[in-house]
């Protein structure tokens, strides 16, 4: 069939215009998509920065709370105790005391000083258990769990199959604090009565598994992840370069797994 050259030309022009329009649509799409992707990246980075800020805030808040507590403890136990000791020492200086009165005052002084000594040891121990420092992480955790077991309010089962010498010594304290925080959380918020802590080795990584039988929490609720304790755990976990996973159901306790 014979076609006019004009028909051929119009067909070519028409086809060319159509291809041009389609390429134009795709190019415009690519341009706007790139813009949107970059905006999304920036938004994500901003969110990350915000999150880091809240973590830092949490750490500072905890620090201030600790300082407050130490100040309170020092004031209540040690300051006041030493005050009474100094009053008693002054009383010793009064002329004309007979031996029974002297003995009574000396006994009071001895009693008070031993109590103040005991308090200061306790405060130091709460701040940093000497067992952890001298005998290592395993002994430190053992002592911690035994202390809690002795109170009778909770029964902690601690098993260790891992080798802590693989973990750098700086991380030992962090792990200890993490366990302390978890136990505090379980007892205070979860009202747990049984806790199981175990360290195992899995494919070259040390895995800490922590399970309690408390009232758990709904992991869908964002407020539960905003608690001070959780933030501190998160900070410490990131500091030692580990990964954590929390599984929880309401009334079914929580299970925490940390891979170091």
């Amino acid at each position: 069939m014979e076609y006019d050259s004009s028909e051929i030309i119009s067909a070519v022009i028409y086809t060319f215009t159509a291809f041009f329009l389609m390429s134009l649509a795709i190019l415009i799409f690519v341009y706007y998509s790139r813009k949107k992707i970059i905006e999304q990246e920036i938004k994500n980075r901003d969110l990350e920065i915000e999150h880091q800020k809240t973590l830092i805030n949490a750490v500072i808040q905890t620090q201030e709370k600790e300082r407050n507590r130490i100040a309170q403890d020092l004031h209540d136990d040690i300051s006041s105790g030493l005050n009474v000791v100094s009053i008693n020492c002054h009383m010793l200086k009064t002329p004309g005391l007979d031996t029974t009165e002297q003995d009574k005052i000396t006994d009071t002084i001895l009693d008070l000083t031993s109590r103040v000594l005991h308090s200061s040891r306790r405060i130091a121990h709460d701040l940093l258990p000497p067992v952890l420092d001298k005998f290592g992480l395993n002994a430190g955790i053992l002592e911690l769990t035994e202390d809690f077991n002795k109170t009778g309010k909770v029964s902690i089962d601690y098993k260790n199959q891992a080798d802590f010498s693989k973990i750098p010594t700086e991380s030992h304290l962090h792990i200890f604090r993490i366990i302390q925080e978890l136990i505090n959380n379980s007892m205070r918020h979860g009202k747990a009565t049984k806790i199981a802590i175990s360290f195992t080795e899995e494919s070259g990584q040390t895995v800490l598994k922590y399970v309690d039988n408390g009232c758990g929490f709904d992991t869908n609720e964002i407020e539960n992840q905003k608690g001070l304790g959780m933030k501190n755990i998160e900070s410490r976990v990131s500091l030692i370069g580990a990964v954590y996973k929390i599984t929880s159901e309401v009334n079914n306790g929580i299970a925490v797994e940390i891979k170091i």
Binding site: Y14, T219, Y244
Partner: protein, 220 residues
């Protein structure tokens, strides 16, 4: 009639009918507007395929059915995209472009009614092009939203883009002889299109069954 039925159920039409039945199932279960629209779309395609195949089987001209195919596809899929968009700007674009397109085609048929019996180039290109633009809108939305109707969108985009390119090349067949390859390629595109529709059905069907009683938080 029975011979035609045997002829009708080629692999392409089998896949088409399977997809239609699957979407009927899905629409009944979920009763969502978007799923209903997709079901209606597949129904229209099945009917058009059946009827045009029947006409061809009897040796009657079936070119005019193509108009129903393109316009109905444009209307139904356009309405589908109208329903899944959230931005007013995009919804307005769909509304006005659809009205404009129908007006243009209406005017064209009013002036040249004999085009009803031929392939209408403008109609084919305009309807496919607008649908491609809507699917590009949806791709843009998907960049920052949850994955929804991704596979269907990919299918629609590739199918319309491919069939438009094929159609434009077929137009040029007066200059270059294509030796019928465009018909084969069109069938391949159709196959891929319905495979994507099937994948989308799987996604939609599985989504409603997912329950999450225990959630897991991952850190760092």
């Amino acid at each position: 009639m029975i011979e035609y039925l045997n002829h009708f159920f080629s692999i392409y039409n089998q896949l088409l009918c399977l997809n239609f039945l699957l979407f009927v199932l899905l629409a009944i279960k979920t009763r969502k507007k978007t799923h209903l629209i997709l079901m209606v779309y597949l129904l229209v395609i099945v009917v058009i395929q059946f009827y045009s195949g029947y006409l061809a089987f009897q040796g009657i001209h079936n070119t005019h059915i193509s108009h129903f195919y393109f316009v109905l596809q444009f209307l139904i899929l356009g309405y589908f995209y109208y329903n899944i968009f959230n931005q007013t700007f995009q919804k307005n674009i769909i509304k006005y472009s659809m009205i404009l397109c129908l007006l243009i085609l209406g005017v064209q048929y009013a002036i040249y009614p004999e085009m009803y019996f031929k392939f209408n180039n403008l109609e084919i290109f305009l309807t496919s092009y607008l649908l491609i633009i809507y699917s590009l809108f949806h791709f843009y939305n998907l960049l920052s939203a949850k994955k929804s109707f991704l596979y269907l969108n990919i299918g629609v985009f590739f199918y319309l883009f491919g069939s438009t390119v094929l159609f434009l090349l077929a137009n040029l067949s007066i200059v270059v002889d294509l030796k019928g390859i465009n018909a084969i390629l069109n069938k391949v595109l159709f196959l891929f299109y319905h495979i994507f529709i099937f994948i989308e059905w799987i996604q939609l069907y599985l989504k409603k069954g997912k329950l999450n009683p225990k959630k897991v938080i991952h850190g760092i």
